[in-house]
């Protein structure tokens, strides 16, 4: 791998190259050696390539961050450990069901937000999957005889179906169903952004609003296509198709670089039950100050490793790291250090921890030399 990497400009370009080759090969297989490439889909095709390259570059950069790297290192290590297999599978299944499929934690932030996010998320994933499937020719339909359609996946004929059957209807209307979900979710989200003033505090137009309106444009133009086709005898069909293609191209190119990029990094949440806290809110490592459990060994080891790798020297006078103490003890240590009180739980560094903001040099008087106290005792007598 190292050898191979050297022949490329960077890690990101190497992975991008591999992804492009795989995509190309999949098109080659899917379209029967390029015999069935639809040139109408050219814009979609190019932007889909940009989408995949963008995602690859961003993911590579993200995995190179020291913190992410550390978590992934432990995840891979745990995946390989035979003894942990049961825990691994449980963690992955639980994260997949609770966090990704049902998105329970968002419903806890509010039912409205939950529904809205769930609709947008699954509308997006569904329509992206169908779009890529069709654009790269991974799947298409073939008319076998007058009443039978066949689904062809990677140029391999699979199930056949009657065009009026429920399954066929679901498949044909997949994009419409996804678009309907998106439309409802988007209207909910935009309404929330307009009505809820608390959101304005952190809202950024280019980050929070742009993707919403962009998705809305994609969804509406896509739905209009169906309306024009089904109800209006194809009125303005080619114009709408062009508009839709343009919006989709912008969307695909934007995806890896904006808010929506949280989608591909979300699965890392599985690393939490897998590597760190196995059962929610059950801690196993004791604080060395107050002896109450506050974390677990692996997590603290990882945090210290990450900080060490980034040249943070937070070691205290007693040889421990702040992260060996629970957050409450850490707060107390900081204050006691500043007030020059000897803390009952541990000794901090001689100098207060520097947070290096240029002007922050905190601290009360340090303890003075023993002679000073001896002097005052003498004076008292």
């Amino acid at each position: 791998m190292k050898e191979l990497e050297r022949s490329f400009y960077s890690k990101a370009s190497m992975y991008s190259f591999i992804v492009v080759v795989i995509l190309f090969f999949s098109i080659w297989v899917g379209t029967g050696q390029f015999t069935k490439v639809g040139w109408m889909k050219f814009g979609y095709m190019v932007s889909s390539f940009i989408f995949f390259i963008g995602i690859t570059v961003r993911l590579t950069a993200w995995l190179m961050r020291p913190a992410t790297h550390e978590v992934m290192k432990r995840t891979i290590q745990n995946m390989k450990t035979t003894k942990r297999q049961k825990r691994n599978v449980k963690a992955i299944v639980k994260t997949l069901v609770d966090n990704i499929i049902l998105q329970k934690f968002i419903f806890k932030r509010g039912i409205y937000r939950g529904i809205q996010h769930w609709l947008i998320a699954w509308g997006c994933i569904g329509s992206l999957a169908i779009t890529f499937g069709l654009v790269f020719g991974w799947m298409h339909f073939r008319l076998v005889d007058a009443t039978t359609y066949q689904l062809v996946v990677f140029n391999i004929p699979t199930i056949t179906m009657h065009p009026d059957g429920i399954f066929a209807q679901l498949v044909f209307n997949g994009l419409n169903i996804a678009a309907a979900m998106l439309l409802v979710g988007l209207i909910m989200a935009i309404a929330r952004r307009i009505k809820n003033h608390d959101l304005k505090v952190t809202e950024r137009a280019e980050f929070d609003l742009f993707p919403l309106y962009l998705l809305l444009a994609v969804t509406v133009s896509g739905l209009l296509l169906t309306v024009s086709f089904k109800l209006l005898d194809g009125w303005m069909h080619s114009t709408i198709a062009l508009v839709h293609q343009i919006t989709v191209v912008i969307f695909l190119v934007y995806f890896p670089f904006g808010k929506l990029f949280h989608l591909p990094i979300r699965p890392m949440a599985a690393a939490v039950p897998m590597n760190y806290q196995e059962t929610v809110q059950v801690d196993t490592k004791e604080c060395i100050g107050c002896h109450k459990p506050y974390s677990n060994d692996d997590q603290i080891a990882d945090v210290q490793q990450m900080l060490g790798n980034q040249a943070f020297d937070l070691k205290m006078k007693d040889g421990n790291h702040p992260s060996d103490y629970c957050p409450a003890c850490r707060r107390m240590l900081r204050v006691m250090n500043h007030l020059n009180i000897k803390s009952p739980v541990g000794e901090v560094a001689e100098e207060p921890v520097q947070t290096n903001n240029g002007i922050h040099i905190p601290g009360f008087g340090r303890r003075r030399a023993e002679s000073f106290y001896a002097q005052s005792v003498k004076e008292e007598k």
Partner: protein
């Protein structure tokens, strides 16, 4: 931002107004992000207020595997971005001062952001604007320097004699973001 936060722990009277004010803030979901705790309950009833230092090189953001903790142009360290935070709690352990809080229900971290929406317009953060004993203040750089100078003199009167090198260690904590 022209002003900075100035904390004097021993002025704290434990009224917890700052926490109540913090809960009132928009987007905080009625959960406070600051702390008022006892210095040493067995010794005295002295309390102290505690907020985020807004570190220049924040350990919390450095240990976040999701890159969820963002720093604004003025150097304010924001709460985790809700869509990115994967709920690992690394930040709560990485922070040397025990500041970030974690919400297990909603699976996200939240922390003091010095009321960024207020302080970026030089308006005092919620906690500083309600503190009745001036334990938390939001003041000009000059005023802070003045206070610190007085403080060192006070220490001198009490018989402590800081040297040129360490005299700033004899004054209370101040932090925050300051840029000319």
């Amino acid at each position: 931002m022209k002003k900075i936060m100035y904390l004097e722990f021993e002025r704290c009277i434990g009224c917890r107004s700052c926490q109540a004010a913090c809960r009132e803030c928009g987007g905080h979901d009625a959960k406070e992000r600051n702390y008022v705790e006892y210095v040493d309950f067995l010794e005295s009833r002295q309390t102290f207020p505690m907020m985020c230092m807004q570190c220049k090189d924040p350990a919390c953001a450095r240990v976040c595997p999701a890159n969820a903790i963002q720093i604004t142009d003025d150097g304010v360290v924001l709460s985790a971005m809700e869509e990115k935070c994967i709920g690992c709690r690394n930040c709560t352990f990485g922070c040397p001062f025990g500041i970030p809080k974690f919400d297990f229900e909603e699976n996200k971290m939240y922390k003091c952001d010095m009321c960024y929406d207020r302080t970026k317009h030089d308006i005092a953060p919620m906690c500083a604007s309600v503190c009745p004993s001036d334990a938390i203040r939001f003041i000009d750089h000059d005023e802070m320097m003045e206070l610190r100078r007085k403080r060192t003199q006070l220490n001198l009167i009490e018989g402590k004699k800081p040297s040129e090198n360490n005299k700033w260690q004899y004054v209370p904590e101040f932090f925050g973001v300051y840029s000319d």
